[in-house]
């Protein structure tokens, strides 16, 4: 556990960040609190925009309760050593304005002008602040700590896996059935149909699906089964072609690779569903893999696959589509199992280690949830528990 000795320091950093109060901008000066017709602005506050890449200020104000509201408010900005310019107009009821396009490190003073009946009726005192860029997003410290913690746990178990220590991984029925499905297709002399979902390569589920495709293609190459991969995105098609080609090369069967079997159908969701249904009905695949991101077409595909008598292995992290797959497919990989498939199928110690780390991370998150619920509940009568709940809220909050 020596590798994880930095974790307490990280937690201390998160706790320190959580305990630190928000610092108001020191250069902002509120306007005078005069209840006169000329000054209907009670307080004008200008601050540097937080957690940005610079050049921006935030202006907030309150109007005097006794003054009648103006028709609109004009925001005027004057950078140090520069000319005054109009930054924008806002309607009454607004009390926040973001001003961008300023120069970092140059103080800028802001004046508000209330307009009514087509002419200015009141002008606030100037308040100024200096725009600057931040090097760390203060609202994401909790997320940073959690990311580092998860990564540390996963890497620790990867090292354990590499060192050759045995790791227990629970059986995932859907993945254990991959060999059987491909073997069945080979024996029946019918093709294997692999559907990588309907999203593009920037979707993590499609990436996970491509990783599994490599393993399935290695099996089809080994068994001599015909592999069909219809695609709904050109980039996915190109990647799938390369993945399958490499798997066939690795399996020593480059002659069995058929580029035309990994083809593009259409980008249209239901056009793709119709095309794949046509392939199922005409070619009657013996094994169908539905792995990736699916939407409304999931049940159309899975039910058609069921009707042609194929053994079906589905997997997605889309919670709304999982019930359809569970109802219509023989095996379903639920959420995280889709991402575990590659490691499970390869049985490589390093990948299995990452799987184990993922499970431990899940345990940590379950503990955080339980502690958070208990602390929040106990906080209603015991104040210190509230502070624990607040710390956990800070850690898990993402802006």
């Amino acid at each position: 556990m020596r590798e994880m000795a930095f974790l307490p320091a990280l937690l201390a950093l998160a706790a320190a960040a959580w305990a630190q109060p928000e610092q108001p901008d020191s250069t902002a000066s509120p306007a005078q609190d005069a209840q006169t017709f000329e000054s209907m602005f009670e307080a004008v506050c200008v601050t540097d925009a937080p957690n940005d890449d610079g050049g921006a200020l935030e202006v907030s104000w309150t109007l005097s309760g006794s003054a009648s509201p103006p028709d609109s408010i004009r925001i005027l900005a004057t950078p140090e050593g520069g000319e005054e310019f109009e930054a924008g107009w806002v309607l009454p009821g607004t009390d926040l304005f973001s001003l961008s396009g300023l120069e970092d490190g140059v103080p800028c003073s802001i004046t508000l002008e209330a307009w009514a009946g087509g002419s200015p009726v009141s002008r606030s005192d100037a308040a100024s602040a200096t725009p600057s860029a931040q090097w760390f997003h203060s609202r994401r410290i909790g997320m940073f700590v959690i990311t580092v913690l998860l990564a540390a746990v996963i890497f620790w178990y990867i090292n354990r896996g590499k060192s050759g220590r045995p790791l227990f991984i629970r059986e995932i029925a859907g993945l254990s059935a991959v060999d059987d499905a491909v073997g069945r297709a080979t024996e029946m002399g019918r093709p294997v149909l692999y559907i990588p979902g309907i999203m593009d390569m920037d979707d993590i589920q499609t990436i996970a699906s491509m990783v599994i495709l490599g393993r399935v293609a290695a099996k089809t190459a080994e068994y001599g089964a015909n592999l069909l991969v219809p695609n709904t995105r050109s980039v996915v098609m190109s990647v799938a072609q390369e993945v399958v080609k490499e798997s066939y090369l690795q399996a020593g069967r480059p002659d069995a690779y058929r580029r035309e079997n990994i083809n593009y159908l259409t980008d249209d969701q239901f056009g793709y569903a119709a095309g794949v249904d046509g392939i199922m009905v005409r070619q009657r695949p013996a094994a169908i893999f539905l792995l990736g991101t699916f939407y409304a077409e999931s049940l159309i595909l899975a039910e058609t696959g069921k009707s042609v008598g194929a053994i079906q292995i589905a997997g997605t992290a889309m919670p709304s589509q999982l019930p359809f797959f569970i109802a219509a497919c023989d095996y379903t990989l639920i959420g995280e199992e889709l991402f575990a498939a590659s490691a499970y199928l390869s049985r490589e110690p390093k990948l299995l280690g990452s799987l184990k780390g993922q499970d431990v991370a899940k345990l940590v998150i379950m503990l955080i949830i339980v502690i958070g619920v208990l602390a929040s509940t106990a906080g209603t009568w015991w104040e210190p528990a509230n502070r624990v709940a607040d710390l956990l809220r800070f850690l898990t909050h993402v802006e």
């Binding site: 990867i158 990783v211 050109s234 899975a302 995280e336 993922q358």
Partner: protein, 219 residues
């Protein structure tokens, strides 16, 4: 080098995307958008790969008189007619491309979508038919949710003596809402948390080159 270069590119891009999430300062703030723009450019260019593949595959089927080749001329005809209509007259409203899209492509898509109703019925029938307590529980929950989502559910409940004047005159819809918001939501969130962890683990494996099967699985 064939393997090292993609691994280096993956590592650099992955780390930059992680850094830009935590560092708002330039140049990191611009990297996310820049890389997304690059992806869009690559994806746009790759459309031609898809088009070329589509035409090649179907021309090959026709020339080889492969099984079911009769469908290929229909695909090619549709593709070239739509392309020509868009290229010659434009894709604005009222033009031939738009006419064909609105009156052929959209209805065909709607037809496929409408099939979903029948598939839901057949899948639900199969799921509820199983004779175990979980299937019975599922059937019961589904029955309550379906009744609770339509006005007749509460109307039936209010026919019971004292139900209309009781504390819960809309009991069926309240139970349906509870089923959706509590057990169903808890299950969905559990799936999402697990999936999020899977995403983190998969991303780390790929960024640090531990997962290489997408490159052919070579060491």
């Amino acid at each position: 080098m064939r393997l090292v270069l993609p691994l280096i590119v993956t590592f650099i891009c992955g780390m930059l995307m992680i850094l830009q999430f935590f560092i708002p300062h330039r140049p990191f703030s611009l990297l996310g958008e820049e890389l997304s723009d690059w992806y869009m450019i690559v994806a746009s260019a790759a459309i031609f790969l898809g088009v070329v593949n589509l035409v090649q595959v179907h021309l090959m089927k026709i020339s080889q008189r492969a099984k079911n080749w009769q469908y290929s001329p229909v695909v090619l005809l549709g593709f070239f007619v739509m392309t020509a209509a868009g290229a010659v007259w434009g894709v604005e409203e009222g033009r031939p491309f738009d006419y064909m899209f609105q009156n052929m492509v959209v209805p065909m898509g709607a037809t496929m979508f409408s099939l979903l109703a029948f598939f839901v019925a057949s899948a639900a029938f199969r799921a509820f038919r199983s004779s175990n307590w979980r299937a019975t529980l599922l059937l019961l929950s589904a029955f309550i949710v379906m009744l609770g989502r339509v006005p007749i559910g509460d109307m039936i409940w209010r026919l019971f003596p004292g139900a209309a004047s009781g504390a819960h005159p809309n009991l069926v819809s309240e139970v349906a809402e509870w089923l959706m918001q509590v057990p169903n939501m808890a299950g969905q969130r559990a799936v999402m948390i697990g999936a999020a962890l899977g995403v983190v683990a998969t991303s780390l494996r790929m960024i640090f080159g531990i997962e290489r099967s997408y490159l052919g699985g070579a060491e």
